[in-house]
Symmetry: C2
Subunit: 223 residues, 2 copies
């Protein structure tokens, strides 16, 4: 299992990597899309397969043993989650979502979902709706200054979510002890509500210990 | 928007298509995985990108205008959902899941999730857990003889779900009017529970009309 890793790259190195891998991953995203949609002759499919297998073999010559993980800086600032299914710059499965937040518990993202995200004909897969809401709710909660692991997530489907341009909004609803309630919704291109979510996020044990240490330190200072 | 389409291919044609597209899509799945994990030199990444872009251009010469949709047979038997995000034979995003069912409301799947499905380091993305559960619950409900659209879906996360070999099980819990309750769970390679789900599936209006028509026909026959 890949553990949390320390980020060893400088800002310049990370920027150079992003410039290299962004267009590369976009090319693979386009290939994913056309793999579903192409109608060229069987011989052309077989020829493309042989070429893709050869590219895979070359790229596998040097690779990370497991998954990408998340690379954190020693100063505690949020690290790189470039392998993430929803946001990962290097993950062709990720649309990817670019999530904006106000640091006060609100987060939102405008994004586009095409053919690879289909469930019912012409509609976004209900599970993909849940996947996006989980990520944006988690982002709202974690950037509000209080990290949380998803405890429960409830999705209410109001109507089909059409493939195309979409928006997801999420916010921190309330807090109680180690629990934070996040809420969110998906809007279609006309701004109509298609799905809603409520999630309960639990403060991880390591953060609780940190909280206890801080409280003890403050009590000592006050004393 | 892609509508439901009629299946025009014969069984033999579908088998030939499956034999063509299965290894092709598997090659693209391997490329998705290595796109995240490769550490070869930048020049090799750039060369691969140029080749992939050329393949995409060739495959795009003839393609379906929108998404794949679902192709149904005129006799009403379930059609091909080869573009589906979770099960699609032609969708490189799909692991794909092969779901087994007993036709009585139970469904299950043994599957493997690698690097592209990562959320927290080494763990399956919480939203991917929801995506898999949504598909398997929906499958259990629809193959029980009563189709349903997901109304609500609640996921309870018990512990992190490790990347690797996993199992998902789902079953119909109960029915009441137009609602069917499905339940399900994810087990890790040691058989330990990692997440549970409950979903409420609503009988679509067209199926209700069908039910009403059948009841009327039966009443007429009985009379």
């Amino acid at each position: 299992m890949t553990a949390f890793q320390e980020e060893t790259a400088t800002d310049e190195e990370i920027a150079a990597e992003a410039a290299l891998y962004t267009p590369f991953t976009d090319a693979v995203r386009a290939l994913v899309d056309v793999t579903i949609r192409t109608e060229v002759d069987p011989d052309e499919i077989r020829a493309a397969q042989v070429e893709i297998e050869a590219i895979v073999e070359r790229l596998r010559k040097k690779q990370i043993p497991g998954s990408y993980g998340v690379r954190f800086r020693r100063d505690g600032t949020r690290g790189r989650n470039w392998g993430n299914t929803v946001m990962g710059l290097r993950n062709p499965i990720a649309p990817p979502l670019h999530i904006v937040n106000d640091g006060q518990g609100q987060a939102w993202s405008d994004f586009h979902l095409g053919a690879p995200y289909e469930g019912p004909p012409g509609l976004v897969h209900g599970g993909v709706v849940a996947l996006v809401l989980d990520q944006v709710l988690g982002h709202a909660v974690s950037t509000s200054g209080r990290p949380g692991m998803t405890g429960t997530l409830t999705i209410t489907y109001r109507q089909g979510t059409p493939l195309g341009d979409l928006r997801c909004e999420a916010w921190v609803d309330r807090r109680e002890g180690i629990k934070t309630w996040g809420k969110g919704r998906i809007l279609n291109a006309e701004g109509e509500l298609t799905a809603e979510a409520e999630g309960i996020f639990i403060l991880p044990r390591w953060a609780r210990d940190l909280d206890a240490l801080r409280a003890a330190a403050e009590a000592t200072e006050a004393g």
